[in-house]
Every structure is written in C-alpha cells, then in structure tokens.
C-alpha cells in the first residue's frame, strides 16, 4: 500500500540549469524540497545545496517553489535550479553597493523582475534591501535606466503590502514628485511611469502623506503627462488624478473638477487619449476614464438630494425666469397690474409650463432625487437653448386635446431618470469601464445631456400619442432609447442625437418584439416545456390518427397501373376503409365516380395485411427503369392470402401518399412517419402548448426544477380531506 501511495504522490518533471544537461526526475510531493534539491545537486555535482532553490519557468509564473506552492507542480512541468532567494538577494545587494554602473544597472533590472515574487521580496526586505533602495532614490544620484529599474523595484517590493507606505519621508516624496513635475527631455519614460504609480499608491495608502503630496503635485503638471504618446504614462497619470480626486474633501473635489472640466484639459483627454486610440482605448484606460467621470458626476449628488428650500430666493427667481422666457418674450407684460391679478396670471402660466403645483411650482422640486438639480437643468435649457425651450413649452401649452406633454413634470422625472441611468451618487466600481466620450466635449455635460433628452422625450411622447396616464410607459421607452444610444459610446452630443434619431418609438417596440420572440424561442426549448410537449404528444398523435382514418374511410380514386409499373389509360379503381376500420373495400370505377361501400365488391380485411412497403420495394415498381419518378408515390400492401399477393397503389400526389401510408401504418400499429404527419404534429403541438401556457404569460420559467421542501410534518389539514 505505501508503494501505491508513493506513485500517486510523484509527478514527472524536468529540471534545467544554466550550462547543465537537464535532469528528468520523479518529484515526490511527500519529500521535503531540501531533500529533492540535495538529490539534484548530487546529480550535477554541486557543492553546498543550501545555496540553491527551484523556480517555475512558466511565462506568467517564474516564482520560487516553496512548500506552499509546490502543489502547483504538475506532470510535465519544467523547473529551474538556481541560487536561493537569500543568496540572490545578497548578490544583488553586493553589486548595487559596490559594483560598477553597468553591474549596478544589471543587478537592479534583475531585482525589478524578481521582486514580483513574494518569497524573494521578503528575503530582500529582511536584508535591509528596501531601505537601501529608498535611500538611493532619496539621494537622487541615479539616472536614466538605472533610476527606472530602481523605481520599478520599489513599486514591486511595496506591492506585496509587507511594508507600510507611512514610512516614507518627505525627501523621498519630493524626489519622486520632481520626476513627475520636471520630466527631463531625455529621461526614461519608465521613470515617469513608475513615479506616477508610486505617488498614486502613496495617495491611496497613506492618508498622512496626502497633504504633503498635494502640495508637490498639481493637476496641470499631470495633464502634461496626459499628452504623452505612451499609453502607460497616460494611464498612470489619470490613475493618479483619480486617486487625488477620490481622497479630496468636497471643496477640493470641486476645485479639481473645475480644472478637469476646463476646455484645455477636456480637449487633451479627447484628442490625446480617446481620439488617438480611435475611440477604442484599452481596458484599464477605459476604467480610469470611467472612474474620472463617475467622480465628476458625483458632484451633482448634493443638488440631486437637496429639496428646494421655500425661502430660497434664487430658486424662486429661476422659476420666474422659466415663465418669463417662455411667455414674456415680447416684454410688453406687467405694468400697473395688481399683485393678485399677477398671481392668478402666473398660476395659469405655470399650469401651461406643466408644473404639478401650478399655484406654487417650488413644491415640484420637493422630491429627492432629483431635487433642485431638476430646476438647474430646466433653467440651463431655457437660458442656453431658448429656441428649443420655447418650442417645447409653447407646443404643449397650446394643445387643446389631452395629448400635451407637461414640461415641468416630465423634466423633473427625466432628471431623476438621467441620475439613475448615470448612477449618480454611487461610488465608482472596481469593474466599471463604461465611460461617455461625449461628456468630454462640453463644459456642462449633465445639463447638455438633459437638453438633448428633453427634446427626445417630447418627440417620443408625440410618436406614442401619449396622454398623462401614459407617463410611466413613455418613460420606459425613453429610458430604453437613452441607454441604447449611450451604449454606442457616441463621441459627441451630435452623434448621440443622431443615434436617438434612429431609435424611434416604433424601432424600440420592434426591438422589444424581437426580444420577446427570442425569449419565446428560448422557452420552447426550456426543460419543463419540452417535458410538457412529450406529455401532450400522445394526445396529438391520436388526433392525427383519427384524421387519417377519416380520410381512408372517405376513400380515394387511384389510377390503374400494370404489374410492370405502366400507367393504364382511363382505368381507375376506388378503395375505402369501412367505418369500423376493419375492412378495405375496393373495386373498379370510372374517372368521376366515388362508389359507395356496398358497390365495391372486393374486400381486404385489415388483419390480412402483412406489411406496407413503399417506393422501389413495391412489386409493381421492381422493373421500372429510367428517369421516371412514379415510384416515389407508389406503395403496396403485402398480403397473407394466396390468390392476391399484394395490393399496389400509385398515389396522385404526395399528400395522398402521406395520408394513406400514415393511415395504414396507424392501422398496423406502426409509427406515422410521413412529412405531413410531422408537420401536423408540430402545428398542433405548438399552438396547444401556447394555449396551456396562457396563464403563465410573463412569468419566468425556471430552467431547472425548483427545490422541493422536506415533507410537511403532518397532514392535519384545516379543511377536511374529501
């Protein structure tokens, strides 16, 4: 038994080593690594096995083999025997401290690669290696590639979370910040990349250093790096901006946001990042842009969640202005009107504006979300898109029927919907990568977005010939239009408008219809429905059978054929089944008659039929040559009787052929196999299933059987058993 166990524990692998012939060994998972290394060293005649360790050689895994990860070794793995982490760390430290510039650079390059391995990083840090690297960076004597590897090594060593970011001194931070602020023209781009990523980590991981860093780094200095041609530099720069953004307090966030929304920064993002990648930025960049936009939009959250204060004069002014822009364009109003009359007139105007509370529209902004954000958007629309605004308002206030679209009410609801669609107020998710390029094209992305959508809403309202009761339905369509158009990631507001133009109400209903159809298609394959089909099938087959019997009882006139398959001119015979389905009656007839049962002199009891054959199997088709296709419609009944060996038919068309062969097969207890039978089965079954599922319309059908609970503890029913 132990032998058996041993083979199960052995994986067959190869081990290679520089300048040595590789060894093929059985790697016993139960033996200690030290023992295995000892064996390998013996094989290559190496002294001091303590100095060696094994390493993986896969592309994405070059880590040292440890007792923890050794189970990742599989049959066929290739390992490398190399100096142990401890020995390597010492060697690197020695070279970095005492080597020539070239040796130093090489050692640092090696360090930057090895540092991704936790096992090595621990050894190196324990030997005060990290402290050395930090002091080298602080001194600032390294240049170019050497400096790049130095910084990269630092990033990798810190990445394991072994050492706290709080240990860093301001000298260090100042130094790294200087690489970001003054990128020398011949500086290695990796230096900037690593510096940006170090600073990002400091911001995210050390709240104590935030204030210091914020003084050193300004957004404009980072924007310079967004103009880099290197996507990694751009990415790291945005990541740092996002980190600063996310950790800032509300006031600072506003400041950062206004810098970022400036024409200059927006156009850098738009042209150097998005357009440079032809709108197809990498996944990580998409995520960073998504985070950036989410943070910027989050600034609207406060307005969104604030309801209008009835004392807020500014807001009241805005409401009055909405009225004025819509109705007082001629400027001829007011004068000596008394206040009360003006109030009455205003209320009428507010009603026309479509407010819910025409007496006091301020109450329309009491609900949050969208709160006063709705008012902000409406006034923006009125001030900046006067033509569209007056068109929307006047069009609806002049309608005499019930189809007017109330501007006030719909605007409030629309802003709420837009907040929902853009997920305003939600923290950026780790996975999110859906950003909106068009938002980088304007100073007021949300407000402009609203202006496009309110026009869309009016258009859709008209297309739907909606009334106030249809409010919810119109919004479900508008939401669909907006989300679909956004998912196309239009590069500008105009492109967005263009997408919406195509997504008319009828287009949306078409898409919904398609989705329903494909859902139905899916459901027809769902397990419970397939089961149901099988359950109903016998009933339907029974129906088809009855129908075929009916056809046979009615009978058919066939053309006569010679025993050699030749059609005989003007000779016909007729055959029908008795109503009790027991006997066939047949006899000659002319081309028009349909003889009654008693007029057909020949009888063939069904029990005498031995078999049904079709096509070339038929006795009268055996000798048919040439291209004639008569045999496709031929069938014969093979009999037990002596005087007549078979009854031979040639059907006038396929349908008669199918009906007869189905009927006879059913009589003989065989399966009805014709195409007609299959068609009928499908037709009858599919509609029958639909009728049975009428009450389940719109209810989700589970793919797997729902769980069945444990049996009830008793059967003491409240209503007695009957």
């Amino acid at each position: 038994m132990p032998a058996m166990n041993d083979t199960a524990n052995i994986v067959k692998i190869a081990v290679e080593m520089a300048e040595q012939v590789p060894q093929l060994i059985g790697f016993n998972q139960k033996h200690s690594l030290a023992a295995i290394i000892q064996d390998l060293c013996n094989g290559w005649q190496l002294a001091e096995p303590d100095l060696y360790a094994l390493q993986f050689t896969e592309n994405n895994n070059k880590n040292y083999v440890t007792e923890k990860n050794r189970n990742e070794i599989k049959n066929g793995s290739i390992l490398r025997l190399t100096f142990s982490p401890s020995k390597t760390a010492e060697d690197i430290l020695f070279k970095v401290k005492n080597g020539t510039l070239d040796e130093k650079t090489q050692a640092l390059e090696k360090l930057s690669l090895l540092s991704t391995d936790m096992t090595f990083a621990l050894e190196f840090i324990n030997k005060q290696g990290l402290a050395l690297i930090i002091s080298m960076i602080e001194e600032g004597k390294c240049q170019g590639v050497t400096l790049a590897f130095c910084l990269l090594s630092f990033v990798e060593l810190m990445d394991h979370g072994i050492v706290s970011w709080d240990i860093l001194e301001s000298t260090f931070i100042n130094r790294v910040a200087s690489y970001v602020n003054n990128p020398g023209s011949n500086q290695d781009s990796k230096v900037v990349q690593a510096s940006l990523s170090i600073l990002e980590s400091i911001v995210l991981n050390s709240s104590a250093k935030y204030a210091l860093l914020e003084k050193e780094i300004t957004i404009p200095s980072l924007v310079v790096h967004l103009q880099s041609v290197n996507p990694v530099t751009q990415q790291n720069a945005i990541a740092l901006i996002n980190a600063l953004f996310v950790k800032a307090d509300h006031i600072k966030r506003k400041a950062i946001s206004s810098t970022l929304s400036s024409q200059k920064v927006r156009s850098v993002i738009l042209s150097n990042i998005i357009q440079a990648a032809s709108g197809q930025v990498g996944n990580e960049m998409a995520h960073q842009l998504y985070v950036l936009q989410t943070l910027q939009l989050a600034l609207l959250e406060q307005r969104m969640n604030t309801k209008m204060d009835l004392q807020d004069q500014d807001a009241h002014e805005k409401i009055k202005e909405l009225r004025r822009i819509a109705f007082d364009m001629d400027n001829s109003s007011t004068g000596g009107d008394s206040t009360t009359r003006r109030q009455v007139g205003f209320a009428k105007d507010y009603k026309k504006l479509g407010f819910k509370c025409d007496i006091n529209p301020a109450l329309d902004f009491a609900e949050t979300p969208p709160g006063v954000l709705a008012l902000d958007c409406m006034i923006y629309f009125a001030r900046n898109h006067v033509d569209n605004y007056t068109k929307v308002v006047l069009e609806n206030s002049c309608r005499a029927d019930e189809h007017e679209c109330p501007f006030g009410r719909t605007s409030v609801e629309l802003v709420r919907l837009l907040c929902e669609v853009l997920r305003i107020g939600e923290a950026p998710s780790e996975q999110g990568h859906h950003y909106h390029p068009m938002f980088f094209t304007t100073d007021h992305p949300f407000e402009e977005f609203f202006c496009v959508c309110i026009v869309l809403l009016n258009k859709t309202w008209k297309e739907m010939r909606a009334t106030k009761e249809d409010f919810v339905k119109v919004f479900s369509v508008v939401k669909e239009q907006i989300t679909r158009a956004l998912s196309g990631q239009p590069l500008s507001l105009d492109k967005f408008r263009g997408l919406l133009q195509v997504l008319t109400y009828s287009e949306i209903t078409n898409l919904w219809q398609q989705e329903r159809t494909s859902r139905e298609e899916w459901e027809s394959h769902a397990r419970p429905i397939v089961e149901l089909r099988e359950q109903i099938k016998p009933e339907i087959v029974e129906l088809i059978q009855q129908q075929r019997y009916g056809f046979l009882v009615e009978g058919t006139r066939f053309t006569k054929y010679s025993p050699r398959g030749q059609r005989i001119k003007d000779k016909y015979w007729y055959i029908r089944l008795s109503p009790n389905h027991k006997v066939f009656h047949y006899g000659d007839c002319d081309e028009k008659s349909e003889p009654a049962l008693e007029d057909l002199s020949n009888k063939l009891p069904v029990v005498d039929i031995k078999a049904l054959v079709i096509g070339k199997e038929c006795p009268h088709m055996k000798d048919v040559r040439g291209r004639k296709t008569t045999h496709q419609l031929a069938f014969s009944l093979l009999l037990d009787s002596v005087e007549v060996a078979s009854l031979d038919f040639v059907a006038p068309d396929e349908k008669v052929f199918d009906f007869w062969t189905d009927g006879i097969n059913a009589l003989l207890g065989n399966k009805m196999a014709s195409k007609e039978a299959q068609n009928d089965l499908d037709t009858l079954l599919s509609l029958d299933i639909k009728l049975r599922l009428l009450d389940a319309e719109g209810v989700d059908i589970p793919q797997d059987p729902p769980p069945i609970p444990a049996d009830p503890p008793n059967y003491d029913f409240c209503y007695e058993l009957k």
Binding site: A466, E531, Q547, L694, E697, G698, I701, D716, L721
Partner: protein, 155 residues
C-alpha cells in the same frame, strides 16, 4: 401546522411536478391552481381544470397571482384579478382551441388554417396587452380590435 392562506389564493405552475409524495397533486406547467392552506413550503389546493381532486404541492412550483376572494372559508370562490379583455381572450382561445382540433380531424383545411391565423393574432395581441408597454390610446384600440376578432370568430 397547516394554516389557511389569506392572500396567496391563486397561482400558476411554473414547472411540471409528478406529485410523488403523500397526498401529492401532480402539476403541469401552465396549470392554474387555487390554494386553500399552506405549511412549511407546501400548499394544499386543487388545479382549476379539475376542482374535485385536492392535494399538496411545493410552493416553489407555483407563481402567485393576484386574486379576489368571496365567501371566505370552505366554499370560498377565488377570482383572479385580471384585465377583463385579457380574461375574455384567454377563455375564447381555449374554447377555440377545441373547435380548432375538431376542424383538423374533420379536414376542414380552409377553416382550420384561418382559425389558426386568427388565434395566433389574438395570442400576440393578448401578450402586448399584458406586457403593459402600450399607451392608453393603443390599449383602447387593441381592445377594440380584439373584440372585433372575437365577434368575427364566434359567428
């Protein structure tokens, strides 16, 4: 402990169940059931297609639909709360389904195909009504269309 259900009175089976348990009531997907009492994940009641057979079935196999109860108790009557036009279409379709099968057996091919087309239209419209994406105007129009079709069919 079995207790009479108050609001969960009416539902539709979302899966087939063999009823292989003591007092089990077998269900076919799409069957409507009336529920009288419940106990730890089980309901007891009957399928509306055969009211005389009572039994128990897992609650997880039933999707509850809104209903109105009259005369609560042993002889209570439960009426599903539905749009009357939808209800009417359901009943008409079921009735026509039987007529349709008869037409098939009698080989009334022309009528059979016509009726099939009309039934498919009705199925489609009924679904549009149920999905609730239509405006009041459209709903009104559709209902008129449906009633016209039903009148046509009943002639």
């Amino acid at each position: 402990m079995w207790t009479a259900t108050k609001t969960k009175k009416y539902g539709v089976a979302v899966y087939n169940w063999k009823g292989d348990t003591r007092f089990g009531l077998p269900l076919e997907i799409g069957d409507t059931v009336q529920i009288q009492e419940e106990c730890l994940g089980w309901y007891r009641g009957f399928a509306t297609k055969n009211r005389t057979v009572k039994g128990v079935f897992p609650a997880s196999y039933v999707f509850i639909k809104p209903s109105k109860i009259d005369n609560e108790g042993l002889v209570e009557s439960v009426v599903p709360v539905e749009d009357p036009v939808v209800r009417e279409v359901t009943l008409v379709l079921r009735e026509w389904g039987n007529i349709w099968k008869k037409l098939y057996v009698e080989r009334e091919t022309y009528k059979f195909n016509n009726l099939r087309k009309v039934m498919r239209d009705l199925l489609d419209w009924r679904r549009q009504l149920l999905t609730g994406t239509l405006t009041q105007d459209q709903t009104r129009e559709l209902k008129l269309k449906i009633t016209a079709k039903i009148d046509w069919g009943n002639r």
